[in-house]
Symmetry: C2
Subunit: 119 residues, 2 copies
């Protein structure tokens, strides 16, 4: 632990966040409303059933998301962000802001390249 202290924390944090769909799942749940399985699917059109299940299980395992089952037919399951999960909000927000700027910057570069060609 002593010889690679910084790395541990990064890895621990990133493990909770990475996974192709975790940030976007957390993002939606951080809006505050509990969401049902199929509601999440609709909000994240490209995700497969399988990956949504897997990632939700992992987030639940880490106590970032809570899962409430209503024992009824048809089944109803609601996912919501936990108090602990809310502590991720600053990270997600920072990532979101930076990502936005990053995309815009990349876009600008492409446009400049196009411009250079026609000059």
């Amino acid at each position: 632990m002593q010889e690679k202290p910084a790395q541990c924390q990064f890895v621990a944090a990133l493990d909770s966040i990475v996974g192709k769909w975790k940030p976007i799942i957390l993002y939606h749940l951080l809006q505050g409303e509990p969401l049902r399985f199929n509601e999440l699917r609709r909000l994240i059109p490209d995700i497969t059933q399988r990956m949504l299940t897997l990632h939700l299980r992992e987030l639940e395992e880490e106590e970032l998301v809570s899962r409430v089952i209503y024992p009824q037919i048809p089944p109803k399951v609601e996912y919501s962000i936990t108090e602990y999960g809310k502590s991720l909000s600053p990270i997600l927000e920072t990532l979101h802001q930076w990502g936005k700027a990053h995309v815009e910057r990349r876009q600008l570069k492409l446009e400049n390249n196009e411009q250079a060609k026609t000059d």
Copy 2:
């Protein structure tokens, strides 16, 4: 782009940061001093030559890191953080803080479980 705006930014941001070793590489370069290839290897003992090369190339590609070659024998190459790369600092810092708390929390839970057993 319109139907999944949030996702794009997250993915864009995370792409720049993930990769098993990127955060730790950026972390070291963010200290300010330019570092040579083998200096980075020493600072990150577990990384392989291959991965250090690959990740540095990707970071360079995104203009987060700059690579300066001194044409001499033996070769000398220095890597340093770019101005743009410095904009990642808040993200890395936030991740680092959260990761630290996350690890401590997990540790606490384990201890409590041990405690429960002996009770």
